[in-house]
Amino acid sequence: MDVLAATEGASSFPLLNYLIAIPAVGAIVVALLPKSRSDLARPVGAMFAAAAGAMSLYLMVSFDAADPGFQFESLQSWIPDLGISWHVGVDGISLWLVVLTGLITPIVLLGVDPHHDPKPYTAWLLMLQAGSFGAFVSLDLFLFFVMFEIVLVPMYMLIGGWGYDDRRYAATKFFLYTMAGSGLMLVAIVSVAVLSSGGGHDLTFDVVALAERQALTTTTARWCFAAFALAFVIKVPVVPVHTWLPDAHTQAPTAGSVVLAAVMLKLGTYGLLRFGLYLFPEASVWLGPTLVTLGVIGVIYGAIVATMQKDLKRLVAYSSVAHMGFIVLGLFAFTPESIGGGVLQMVNHGLSTGALFLLVGMIYERRKTRQIAELKGLQTAAPRFAAVFTVVMLSSIGVPGLNGFVGEFLILIGSFHTRRWWTVIAATGVILAALYLLWAYQRVFHGEPTAEDTATPDIHLREVLVLAPFLAGIVFLGIYPKPLLERIEPAVDRLIGHVEAHSDYQRPDPAAPVMVEHHDSGDEHHDSGDEHHDSGDEHHDSGDEHGEGE
């Protein structure tokens, strides 16, 4: 197999295998701890999670920014008769999700108190980390499916075991809903492998091989893509298959909510990119307008429903629906800016929404309520806590200088090329985002505090330490996102090239930037004749997959 030959030499040390193995082993170690020493569970677990986190950082540092392909690849035969192999690798797209997973798990493990049964709690969180790593680095469809399903179990257990009043309902709903989607995906995975195999001679589940082969007929590919897409849009989630999310988020323990928002939702958008655009370029272009429409509906709908929520956690959950809608728009606008922005926004959303869930969790710890109506004037009682909340809120609103803006702006400006009117509508989401967050902030933090509010303690040092990495990321990515962008871009560029090669989509040719000297504000160059238009503005055929020919 050519793929085998190409990569065997490259991976001297199977870093990614260890990345998955460390937290998995950690989970077993923690589970085997004697019951009498369950106080050791979190420290020991955090060590394993942090080791994996450090490894993900090492991965980031030694990642070759110029290489658009998969790096740190490892390929071992697993079930050779069926063409199933253990094939893992990262590119500029998955790299950041791996890093995000690597960093967030140890933080929440250390920073959020489960209150009871720390042993299984820690073990499940480590399982979740291992499974998420696996899902993000899998380059074999079968392996991916296994990982994609594995992560459901720990999350189900975390919600059901450590959640709030309605946890069983929420956990079951979460599990069944996601399973329903992935059931169809399994059928599609088998179909893709079998139908691409040329009558069974060359059966493989290898993603790279299948993507290069493009052996399916147009119709088959479209059906298969639809099945994949359904599984992923449930995970994202996209309206109207989103209602498991508010329940799961609200009932999950804080750590669960944070990982769910920061990592698990990204499995959906990442899946759309890796297994949608990459495996089914033509079908992605075909179904693009539908998905973009759903994404934009999510932006507006999620924001409107968020505005009316009475529970802070539900509000944040619906804001997630809106934010993830932006990402879906970006992915299916097929421009380097929009997809690059989409990938970046996956990280940004993880930071800002993750931090929001942590903050809401801290409020709950203090007041045993998340009801907006039961809180008032907290800024007077806890000014530092309010300041941190404000920064995270502004990041979520998308104020420039903070990370949320960068992703949102890139998504929108890139999408404007090919999905003009969708973008114009989606951009109104920024007004609504300000509305629901500021209104909630006003009701919770402003106003005259009651005696109970005044007794609310301000932020502790431990909480500051938990939030500090989030705040650092929020500010850093807002000011200097270049290190991420320059690693994301080559992979995205290659992916778009792949789509162009296998469909009739062509990325818009950007109007050639006018080159002038910087010392030049020259009005003499200026020709105001309106008849001299150089760019086609007349054909507003926005939104079709051919894009706007500029």
Binding site: K173, Y177, V239, P240, H242, Y301, I304, V305, M308, P336, E337, G341, G377, Q379, V399, G401, F405, F409, L412, I413, G414, F416, H417, A427, T428, V430, I431, A434, L438, W439, Q442, H446, G447, I479, P481, K482, E486, E489, D493, P510, A511, P513, V514, V516, H518, H519, D520, S521, G522, D523, H526, S528, D530, H532, H533, D534, S535, D537, E548, E550
Partner: protein, 624 residues
């Protein structure tokens, strides 16, 4: 010297960071002095950069770009974190840092005794930083950074006394309304980038013109953006409410600097504005000017008068832009910053001296008790009323002339501007007479007193600027048009007045006459009491023609109901469907549960029936 431009925003940023970390420890008044020093340093840096710019050849292109780093490099998009120094940005920079420093100084006195004294200066420095990013950014996205930054700071500052519900609500309203404008800014940026392939100002200015429809679309989107920030119809509604903030905030953010951002943006983007769009801008400006002046006539709150007055004066600037007279817009922006900053600070001094009383009906005869405040306020009044030779006369005169010279409806625009001038002279005279002249009307126990020197010094300096500010652009001799000659290179279509001297003088005389009528009428009513003031403060105008109230009613009524209906639909229909499926599966399961009886005999019968059925099926198929 030009290389020091980064220092201009960096100093307030440094002040912000320092105060954020150690502000509370520094305490009062040192935190205030630190912030003021940062602002003054920024002003000094601007002066140095200004000198550097003057050192460049006046006949070449006087511009300097400094790029710090690549901010958003993806695909074909290249956004730098960079600064552009040219005549426009340096003009803005000078008065923003200059007036800003005075207001910082003033705030030390005004915020005296506030438990969150240092926090106030945290916001003030952050605001100044954002404003300078807005002004000096070398591309639309960096300007947008400042644009949103000043919006956020405005939110913090309006709701500074956040335990008051009205202040908290006003802050939120300002932010959300501004976001409507920001939407316009963003979409305009997208359209410019996809059409011209750049977001950098110098490259946009050098680009060939866009197609007419695109150009107009871009212009109108920029107008939406500008109308949000600069409080034009119909997005002005947040500004009168913004008076909930401390008075220095009203002076700095909501009179002198932030609200002029929209004017700056339109002037900066002058090369893309189409004629159709300019006409719309002129109409919006004229309508806003008149509307707000009418509202100002009937206000009782000392700051509300000034708030509507600000909206009205901003309308003048939009009228100037719409008439193509960009220099007049900038000229008026500068003089307005002086006299409106002065008037707001003066009103703050009055409020301070009156122990937080803002109702003008409870003031009167304060001139003797607050001599410096009174005298400087009178200077501001004369300047805004267009009395020659005060600064406001010169700048307003240019706008009216430019409007007059417009084709077709120029006379109408001019007439609206003239009526506005009359109303301005009237409502400002009313304010001065109610506050500083006439009878004492304050409650017992109030002892009005003059403010401390940190507050009166800025008043005196701004009064000086309000008197003499006109010298930067005197139309008497062509050589004295410093501002016009300085700014001219940045315009795609430099504006030239076509009227002869006779017309100019006639129009000026009429304008002065209108001002005199306004002042004279106010004297009769509010000073001498010869004319009854009844019916001169109609409720309709006091409530600003119910525009805001209507918005509020729609948002609070049908708007909220529609949102609630959506949320209810989500809970019942969308989620209901999901639970419905779950329910169906359960029911179906119960239905077929008897089949799993565990009785072997039943299963055997089932198998037998199935087998027979299969055989029958095969036989019949083969037979056919």
């Amino acid at each position: 010297m030009l290389e020091l431009v980064w220092l201009i925003p960096a100093l307030p940023l440094l002040g912000f960071v320092a105060l954020l970390i150690g502000g509370r420890r520094l305490g009062e008044p040192r935190a205030g002095w630190l912030a003021t020093a940062a602002s003054a340093g920024s002003f000094g840096a601007t002066l140095v950069v200004f000198a550097g710019l003057l050192g460049l050849d006046a006949h070449g292109d006087r511009a300097f770009t400094q790029v710090l780093f690549e901010w958003l490099p993806v695909g074909s998009l290249e956004v730098e974190a960079g600064f552009l120094v040219d005549s426009l940005s340096i003009t803005m920079g000078l008065f923003v840092t200059g007036v800003g420093t005075l207001i910082h100084l003033y705030s030390i006195g005004y915020m005296h005794g506030d438990p969150r004294f240092s926090k106030f200066f945290v916001y003030l420095n952050l605001f100044l930083f954002s404003m300078l990013m807005l002004v000096f950014g070398n591309n639309l996205v960096v300007t947008f950074l400042g644009w949103e930054g000043v919006g956020a700071c405005s939110y913090f500052l309006i709701s500074f006394w956040h335990t008051r519900d009205s202040a908290a609500t006003a802050g939120k309203k300002a932010f959300v309304t501004n976001r409507v404008g920001d939407w316009g800014f963003m979409v305009a940026t997208f359209l410019i980038w996809t059409t011209l392939g750049t977001v950098t100002y110098t490259e946009i200015a050098a680009s060939p013109a866009m197609a007419a429809t695109t150009g107009t679309a871009v212009s109108l989107l920029l107008l939406v953006a500008a109308a949000g920030k600069s409080a034009q119809l119909p997005l002005y509604v947040w500004l009168p409410d913004a008076m909930e903030g401390p008075t220095p905030v009203s002076a700095m953010v909501h009179a002198a600097t932030m609200v002029t951002s929209g004017v700056y943006l339109l002037v900066r983007m002058n090369s893309v504005l189409t004629d159709d769009a300019l006409l719309v801008i002129a109409i919006v400006g004229a309508a806003t000017a008149l509307f707000a002046a009418l509202c100002a006539v009937a206000q009782h709150d000392i700051k509300k008068v000034l708030a509507y007055s600000t909206v009205s004066q901003l309308g003048y600037m939009f009228l100037a832009i719409g008439s193509g007279a960009y220099v007049a817009a900038i000229f008026h922006m500068v003089t307005h910053a002086f006299f409106k900053g002065l008037l707001f600070l003066g009103s703050g001094s009055v409020i301070h001296g009156m122990h937080d009383e803002q109702d003008m009906r409870k003031m009167g005869a304060l001139r003797a008790l607050m001599p410096i405040t009174g005298l400087t306020f009178i200077v501001g009044w004369l300047a805004i009323a267009g009395v020659p030779p005060f600064s406001g006369f010169w700048s307003k005169d240019e706008i009216l002339l430019a409007a007059w010279e417009q084709p077709d409806i120029g006379w109408l625009l001019w007439l609206v501007g003239l009526v506005t001038a009359l109303l301005t002279a009237y409502y400002m005279s009313r304010q001065v007479f109610l506050v500083f002249f006439g009878q004492q009307r304050w409650d017992d126990g109030v002892h009005p007193h003059e403010s401390s020197w940190t507050m009166t010094l800025p008043l005196v300096l701004l009064a000086g600027a309000s008197i003499a500010g006109g010298v930067i652009n005197l139309p008497l001799v062509s050589d004295w048009l410093f501002l016009e000659h300085f700014l001219e290179p940045i315009f795609a279509h430099p504006h030239h007045f076509t009227s002869g001297t006779a017309t100019k003088v006639t129009l000026a005389v009429i304008a002065v006459g209108a001002g005199a009528v306004g002042i004279g009428f106010a004297v009769m009513v509010w000073l001498k009491g010869r004319v009854s003031s009844e019916r001169l403060e109609p409720t309709f105008l006091e409530n600003a023609m119910y525009v805001d109230a209507t918005f509020a009613r729609v948002a609070g009524g049908p708007g909220t109901r529609a949102f609630q209906a959506t949320a209810d639909t989500d809970a019942t229909v969308v989620d209901g469907a999901v639970n419905g499926v779950g329910w169906l599966v359960q029911r179906f399961g119960e239905l077929i549960r008897p089949a799993q009886s565990g009785l072997l005999r039943n299963y055997a019968i089932g198998v037998a029936i199935g087998a027979v059925g299969l055989i029958v099926w095969f036989v019949t198929r083969v037979a056919m």
